[in-house]
């Protein structure tokens, strides 16, 4: 009696084991439509399989500024202020001293030649260089903030050096 129970048990275990090691007819179920939809539905709130498309490249909209200062321009892959940039910053300083209630956001920009992520860092250094110069001229750092847009917001869409130069810039957005 004991033996026959043992035999049945062993046969049963063998079958279970066999199912584990064979690859015949192993069913892979990727879930029902309902299950998969439920998993997707959460994401469908935010996601559609549509791309935004533009017919042609456009100049991105720029921030409104109380006063339009000239941009400070930079050399390729550089973030030190040139002589012409110093002249631009020197011309800004008196206005900022007169209008002490204003704040300045300094945007750092790059031309399209570098890589996106490095250009974000480069733009940040350009904005920071302009900020440091204004601070050295007595403007309170509390009024100055920076943001880099790298190569993502060009002001000129051409690929010639003239355009590239205009895009390598620190741009000033003045607010109350």
């Amino acid at each position: 009696m004991k033996k026959s129970i043992f035999f049945i048990l062993m046969t049963f275990i063998l079958i279970v084991f066999a199912a584990g090691c064979t690859k015949q007819q192993v069913k892979t179920d990727l879930g029902t439509a309902e299950q998969q939809k439920a998993a997707q539905k959460k994401s469908d709130v935010m996601s559609e399989s549509i791309y935004p498309v533009e017919a042609a490249d456009r100049i991105p909209p720029s921030e409104k500024s109380l006063i339009d200062f000239k941009d400070v321009l930079f050399d390729y892959d550089k973030y030190d202020i040139r002589t012409d940039g110093r002249a631009v910053l020197d011309s800004i300083t008196p206005w900022l001293n007169k209008n002490k209630e204003t704040k300045v956001l300094i945007e750092g920009h790059c031309d399209e030649r570098g890589t996106n992520e490095y250009n974000l860092a480069l733009g940040e250094k350009r904005a920071a260089a302009a900020k440091a110069y204004l601070i050295s001229q007595g403007i309170s750092s509390a009024r100055l903030s920076t943001i880099s847009y790298g190569e993502e917001k060009p002001v000129c869409l051409g690929h010639d050096e003239n355009c590239l130069q205009l895009n390598r810039r620190a741009h000033f957005v003045v607010t109350k």
């Binding site: 090691c21 690859k23 069913k27 892979t28 990727l30 029902t32 996601s47 956001l105 570098g114 943001i147």
Partner: protein
């Protein structure tokens, strides 16, 4: 007690014999794809049943052809060494019976039924491809991996995720300007840097729930680099200058790794988390460096050219893909992580933002070679370059997901 032990032994022995009888052919690796001299394996695919069988067969054919390991031939033409038969029935759901035969040794390699609802045919076909690939090569296929990437217009930079072959693009982040991003190692979360309210912050989105949370916010520029287990390496100018930092995935325990007066950006962990690769302009031009993930043992990796950025590790940690500027254009290069064996992989247009597949065999990157930037794939020798995103959409910065469980 003694008797039970011996029964266990017998059972184990029987099990091993039984399994080895059944699975002898399965254990065989048909081609050693790690061998530099492997030849392409001729495969034929035949299908019958419901009309979706043809579609499934085409997806599987495209998957296998992409690898460069197989070449598919017409089932009527002799010469195939492997035959794949797909039999599809559709009632409420798709039922696909797949049989894979070794025609040389006349043995079955795979016999399996797959089911899914009809709208997930591509997922079903990619699952079949993965199983076939595994049975034949002994390695995991990448056919169910994803690519996160950025879709760009003049005023939008949105984060998307699509299948590795460019299908099923989905919006993930549309809030703010989003540029760089990194997958968590389990593929469940995406960390990304977004410019919101005039500052760059690091955020995390859970891909199942779509819940989002801020991870690191401060003045200046904050760009996520890489994720390893619970640690994140990133670049921040919170103290005035872009430097490399490391922190926990929840934004706590922030530690400075590098300090220079210049730019330090684009860090990522080696696959084992022990090293960090990053870009620094401390030599006067942007170059690629590695260091231990505590900031020690700094080494310069690139010496050729005056503009080397965007480094990405290979999954085995032996190589780094990066972008170098040559003859006025950006190109994808590979270099050994000890600095040897520099190889240029792209030659037309600007080619940027390389990211390696989890099996280390392929690279996703963006290119403007035909006008608008789009996402391309190639193998790590630079072969088989092809665009996978539409020509009229500006897409960039692909990041290859890990394998999904």
């Amino acid at each position: 007690m003694k008797k039970q032990l011996s029964v266990k032994k017998i059972l184990t022995l029987l099990f091993i014999i039984y399994c080895s009888l059944l699975t002898d052919s399965y254990a065989k690796v048909y081609i050693d794809i790690t061998s530099p001299a492997f030849r392409k394996l001729p495969v034929s695919i035949s299908y019958r049943g419901h009309e979706t069988a043809k579609e499934a067969a085409t997806i599987i054919k495209d998957d296998l052809d992409f690898t460069g390991i197989f070449y598919t031939i017409d089932p009527d033409v002799p010469g195939a060494e492997i035959n794949i038969k797909i039999d599809v029935e559709v009632a409420e759901k798709i039922k696909a019976d797949v049989y894979v035969f070794d025609l040389v040794e006349n043995t079955a390699i795979l016999s399996k039924r797959y089911t899914s609802s009809e709208e997930f045919l591509r997922t079903l076909a990619h699952t079949i491809s993965n199983d076939i690939y595994y049975e034949i090569t002994g390695e995991n296929g990448i056919f169910k991996t994803k690519l996160s990437h950025i879709v760009s217009t003049s005023d939008k930079k949105w984060l998307y995720i699509m299948d590795w072959d460019g299908f099923n693009p989905k919006r993930v982040v549309t809030n703010g300007l989003t540029l760089n991003h990194a997958w968590s190692q389990d593929g469940m979360n995406i960390f990304f840097a977004s410019a919101r309210n005039k500052r760059w912050g690091i955020y995390m989105r859970e891909l199942n729930s779509f819940r989002e949370q801020p991870v690191f916010l401060s003045q200046g520029l904050n760009l996520v680099g890489g994720v390893n287990k619970n640690r994140i390496v990133f670049s921040s100018s919170k103290d005035g200058n872009p430097d490399i930092y490391i922190m926990n995935a929840d934004g706590t325990d922030v530690r400075l790794l590098t300090k220079s007066s210049g730019i330090e950006v684009s860090p990522s962990f080696s696959p084992d988390g022990s090293r960090v690769v990053f870009v620094s302009d401390r030599s006067g031009t942007p170059q690629i460096y590695t260091m231990n993930s505590d900031g020690t043992n700094l080494r310069r990796l690139t010496f050729e050219g005056s503009y080397n950025t965007s480094p990405a590790w290979s999954p085995d940690g032996n190589r780094v893909a990066f972008v170098g500027r040559k003859n006025g254009k950006n190109q994808v290069f590979m270099i050994k992580s000890d600095g040897g064996d520099l190889t240029q992989l792209t030659f037309t247009g600007n080619n940027e933002n390389p990211s390696l597949s989890p099996d280390g065999r392929y690279i996703a990157f963006d290119s403007d070679r035909t006008g608008r930037k789009g996402i391309y794939l190639m193998n790590i020798r630079g072969e088989g370059q092809r665009r996978i995103t539409p020509g009229n959409v500006k897409t960039m910065n692909p990041k290859w997901s890990p394998y999904f469980k």
